[in-house]
Symmetry: C2
Subunit: 242 residues, 2 copies
Amino acid sequence: MSEKRRDVHNSDVPILCRSCEARHKGMCGVLEPEELVALARRTHKTRHEPGAELIGESTEIRSYANVMRGVVKLTKGLEDGRQQVVGLQFAPDFLGRLFGDESQTTALAASDVDLCVVPRGALEQLIAENPALEHRLMQQTLRELDEARDWMVTLGRKTAQEKVASFLHLIALHADPHRPDGALGAVFDLPLSRADIADFLGLTIETVSRQMTKLRQAGVITITANRHVEVPNLRRLADMCG
Amino acid sequence: MSEKRRDVHNSDVPILCRSCEARHKGMCGVLEPEELVALARRTHKTRHEPGAELIGESTEIRSYANVMRGVVKLTKGLEDGRQQVVGLQFAPDFLGRLFGDESQTTALAASDVDLCVVPRGALEQLIAENPALEHRLMQQTLRELDEARDWMVTLGRKTAQEKVASFLHLIALHADPHRPDGALGAVFDLPLSRADIADFLGLTIETVSRQMTKLRQAGVITITANRHVEVPNLRRLADMCG
DNA sequence: CGCGAAATTGACAAGGGTCAATACCGGTGG
DNA sequence: CCACCGGTATTGACCCTTGTCAATTTCGCG
């Protein structure tokens, strides 16, 4: 495939981009080396601790970003403090509301997070020049829409038990760092606190905790050290997702 | 095909497109007259009764469509029959999962619906030729994503009362046929049955009914003839949305 | 007018929320 | 290495919202 060939033969790819996931699976995969060089000149890497606010709700959009490492949670809040996590983003997802004047969600670092930040103007200019980039971002947007709709089913129609199982299943697929393809089980660290999980599932901390306990007692999962989870058989977990 | 006059002055918009909302606010608004003519040759109008299946879940995608009239509900189901409405589409929304192999949702006519159906190949070809079209569709996709996330808050964090109020508020904004801009209130017919509303809100029919009754008793709405709703003061309704 | 479907209402049960007490983890300093 | 501390998670008791089941009522339509 030509993309690959170009990559191998061209030594002009910015150093920082070479090991970046966005370069391969993310939006930068559609850029020509020259474009990548031009873009890299205007980006900068940032590092954030858990809880850091990356984008504020109802704030003006001045930049976009790619998630290079870690997990970002997108949340929306009601006036009285109730919160709902409306999305989770993993590397190499794109972060930010394209073509909007202000962000509709808050983006918070759930774990340690590294971003590659792009000024708004730089990205929009590049999009205008290269339809393939918009196409790639369209694909990600469509995928996010699919995910959001899947999650609406979970929020609206599943029991607490099924919600927690669905969450663990989701994380198992995204966050097991070195899972072989055919593996039956998974091992991972939860990137979210119980409070975050509750906000993601539309439940309370207590209910999440109780359902985790039930799953543990049923032998579906093993919890060691509070955040570390082992799923011996993913099929079994999937069956509990409703 | 016989020679047709193709001079500059023959920029006639196809007759069927002239009164179509998609021509103005929908995706066709970005098309040049020639493109519109070419596209119109490959589309056809279809009419559907309430309950008709427009797109099946997990079916191959062969065509897309524009909603010309009526309300379409997008649903997802669990094996055991539980259902969740994950989106509502009004004229002149675009219908269908772009660039996907199969639909992830079922599209059902909620009311009488007229569609303008475009074969998959025709649309994808046009998109490839005209980036402005993809851009327009990107905008709609982003809007749908925003709406989906708003609704996730409703599903996950609002009470039954707030959910029903939110639903009525949503419909009031979309379905009042002739509402002046500054109007305080709204009058409309519900395009969805109680069962549909319940599936949209993640509630049961009974709970929806009870909450409607409470809103009626509180004087926030008036219900005449079962489907016909009057909201004297939209502000009041909005305040109940949480 | 009368029928079937849809909607309302009521009585009751249960799933999940609330509040409070306890246990646990991870880090700090003795 | 252990004791202590603050934040996080678990567990328990109780209650409230919403779901369930069943009986009417209303609507739409022939």
